[in-house]
C-alpha cells in the first residue's frame, strides 16, 4: 500500500525539524573530532545526562525545560573542560582504538549512573507553553518541535559566524588544520582544545533542553544521538557548518520517513544503511571538501 501524500509531507516536515536538532548535537562532536582529532563515543551520553538534569530541574522547580538551559549549558561547559583534562588530554594523539575504548567507558559510567539513579523508565518534562499543535495546510506542527528546530538553526548559524568571523574562530580553524603552525602564530592550542571540548559538551546540554520540550529521556537516549552525530559527520565530511546542516536534515528526514511509513523500530537501521552506503561510495562524505 502506498503511503498517502500527506503522510509523506508530514514526515518531511517532522524530519526537517528533527534534523535541525541533530545538527546542533553533531556540530559539537564534529568540532571536537575535527579540531583535536579526538574520537568521542560518549558524546550522546552527555546529552542524556543533561536531559536528566533538565528533567530534575524542570520538575522540581516547575519551570519550562527550556529555561533550565541557563544553568545546564554553563555547567556542561565546565563538565566538558573537566572531561577534557581527565580523559581526553592524556589520549590525544594516541591510537583511535584507545580513544574509542575509553570514551565508551565514559558512556558506560554515565548510562549506568543514570540507570542506578533514575531506573530504566523514560522520564518526560513536557513544556506547558509549547505543547500545542497547529495546522499548516495538511501538516500539523508541534510548536515545541518548531521552536527546537528554529533555535537549533539560529544557534548553528551563530556558531558558523563565530567560527568564521572572530579571533577565536580563526584560532579554532587554524588549529584544526595544523596544530603546530597554529602554535607558531601564537595560538595557545591547549586553550583552544579546552574551549572546543567544553563547547561541544555545552551544545549537548543545549540540545537536551530543546529535546525535553517534547521528548523523553531514558538511560540509553545517548546511544542514538551519538550514532546519529557520527553518521552526520561521515555524510557531511568535515566541510564545516553547511555540510553538517545538510546531512543532519537528510538523516532527520530518513528517520522520520521510516518511522512513519515503515516502523519506528527501524529508523536507526535506515540511518545506518545510508551511512554504510555513503562510506563505501563517497568516503569523503557527500559534502566533504577534497
Amino acid at each position: 500500500m502506498l503511503p498517502s501524500p500527506s503522510l509523506i509531507v508530514q514526515s518531511l516536515v517532522d524530519g526537517v525539524f528533527l534534523g535541525f536538532l541533530f545538527s546542533l548535537v553533531a556540530l559539537g562532536l564534529s568540532l571536537v573530532f575535527g579540531v583535536m582529532g579526538f574520537i568521542n563515543f560518549a558524546h550522546g551520553d552527555f546529552l542524556m545526562a543533561s536531559a536528566y538534569l533538565v528533567w530534575v530541574l524542570a520538575s522540581s522547580l516547575r519551570t519550562e525545560p527550556l529555561a533550565t538551559a541557563a544553568l545546564t549549558v554553563p555547567l556542561f561547559f565546565v563538565v566538558g573542560a573537566a572531561v577534557y583534562f581527565l580523559v581526553a588530554r592524556p589520549l590525544l594523539g594516541r591510537e583511535p582504538l584507545m580513544q574509542i575504548a575509553v570514551t565508551v567507558g565514559v558512556g558506560y559510567v554515565l548510562q549506568n549512573v543514570a540507570l542506578m539513579s533514575f531506573r530504566a523508565e523514560p522520564r518526560a518534562s513536557l513544556s506547558y507553553a509549547l505543547n500545542t499543535y497547529f495546522g499548516l495546510g495538511p501538516v500539523s506542527v508541534h510548536a515545541a518541535k518548531l521552536v527546537a528546530a528554529l533555535m537549533s538553526f539560529a544557534i548553528v548559524v551563530g556558531l558558523d559566524y563565530l567560527l568564521k568571523r572572530t579571533w577565536f574562530g580563526l584560532a579554532v580553524r587554524a588549529t584544526a588544520y595544523d596544530r603546530e603552525t597554529a602554535m607558531l602564530m601564537g595560538v595557545d592550542v591547549n586553550k583552544v582544545y579546552v574551549a572546543v571540548f567544553g563547547l561541544g559538551i555545552a551544545l549537548t546540554a543545549l540540545a537536551s533542553s530543546l529535546w525535553m520540550t517534547f521528548g523523553q529521556v531514558d538511560p540509553y537516549l545517548g546511544a542514538s544521538f551519538g550514532l546519529v552525530s557520527w553518521i552526520v559527520i561521515a555524510l557531511g565530511g568535515l566541510g564545516g557548518v553547511p555540510g553538517i546542516l545538510a546531512s543532519s536534515l537528510i538523516i532527520g528526514v530518513v528517520q522520520s520517513l521510516t518511522t512513519n511509513i515503515v516502523s519506528p523500530s527501524v529508523k536507526m537501521a535506515a540511518a545506518s544503511v545510508v551511512f554504510l552506503l555513503v562510506l563505501w561510495f563517497r568516503p569523503r562524505g557527500l559534502f566533504g571538501k577534497v
Binding site: 574520537i39 584507545m98 574509542i100 567507558g105 558512556g107 559510567v109 548510562q111 537501521a269 563505501w280
Partner: protein, 332 residues
Amino acid sequence: MGGPTLKASRFGWLAPPLALAALCGLVPHMVGFNQYYILVATRIAIVASVALSWNIIGGLAGQLDLASSAYLGLGGILAAELMIKYGVTPWIGMLAGAAASAGVAFLIGYPLFRFGIREVWYALSTVALVVVLHELAIVLMGPFDYYVPPVEGWYYLRFRTWENLYYVSLVLLAFVIVVNLWVSRSKLGYYLKAIREDETAAEALGVDVRKYKLLALLIYATLVGFAGYLYVVTQRTYSYKTFSAPFSIYIAVIGIVGGLGSVDGILLAAAMLGMAEEYLRATFGGTLPGLHLLVYGLLLVTVGVLRPEGLATVTRRLLRPVRTRFLGGESA
C-alpha cells in the same frame, strides 16, 4: 633472557592451553557440581572464546570491531531456529551459523577494506551492522523472546545439568586458544601485526593489506558464529536483543583491558570481569542495576588513561614462571 629465541619446541606452545583446559575441566568437581557456579563458568568460557576470537581482528590486526554480537546472534539464532523448526541437530546448525556469519562478514568486510575504511569509521560501520541486524530482527521475528525448548541430549546439545555444556564450551575455548596461538605464530599473524603497526610500511613489504584484514575478519566471524548456539543456550532465550551493541562493546572491553594480542591477558580479563559481573549482579542487581557496567566503564577509563598496555603486562609478570617451565624460554 640471553640470546634471541631461535627455536621453540615445535609443539611446546600447545602445552599451556592443554594444561589450562585440564585444570578448568576440574571446575565442576571443585564447586561440588553446584549448577549456578557451573553455569557462570560456562558463560565465562563462551565469552572468553568470543573475546579471543575478537582478538584476531581487534588485537592482532588492530581493527576496532564492534560487531561480535552480530555474528554471535546470527550463528546462534540460525542454529536455534534450525533445531526448533526443522529438528536439525545444533552440531550442524552451529556449522551453518558459522558459515552464515562468515558470509555476512564477507559482505560487510569486502567493501570496507576495499575502500580503505579504518579506525573510527570501521568501528562505526561495525556498530551500524549490529544496529541494522537488531532492527531487522524486530521486523522479522517481532519483539518477542524465544525460548529454547526443553529438549535434552547430545543431539540437541542441551542438558538437564550444565556440566556437559561446560565441557563443550571448554573444548571450544581450547580450540579458539589454539587458533589464536597458531595464527600469531604463522605468517598470517606476523602480517596482521605488521598491519596493526603501520599499514603503509606493511604494504611496502609485500603484505596484501586488504586480503589479510579480510582473512582475519572471516576467521573471527566464523568462530563467533559457531559459538552462537552455546551462547543462546546459556541465555536460555534469544530475540532481537541478542544483537546488542553493548555486548559487542563488552567483548572489545575484555580484549582491550586484557591487552591487545595477549591470550593470557584476555583470558584473565574475561574470567575476572565475568565473575565480577556475576557477583555485582547477584548482590546489587535488584538495588543498583547497571553497577557492573559502571565498574566496566571506570575500569576502561582507568586502564585506558593510565595503563594503555592493558592487563597483559601484569599477567605476563604473573605467568612468567609457568611459561618458562613449559617453553624453556620467553616467547613472543
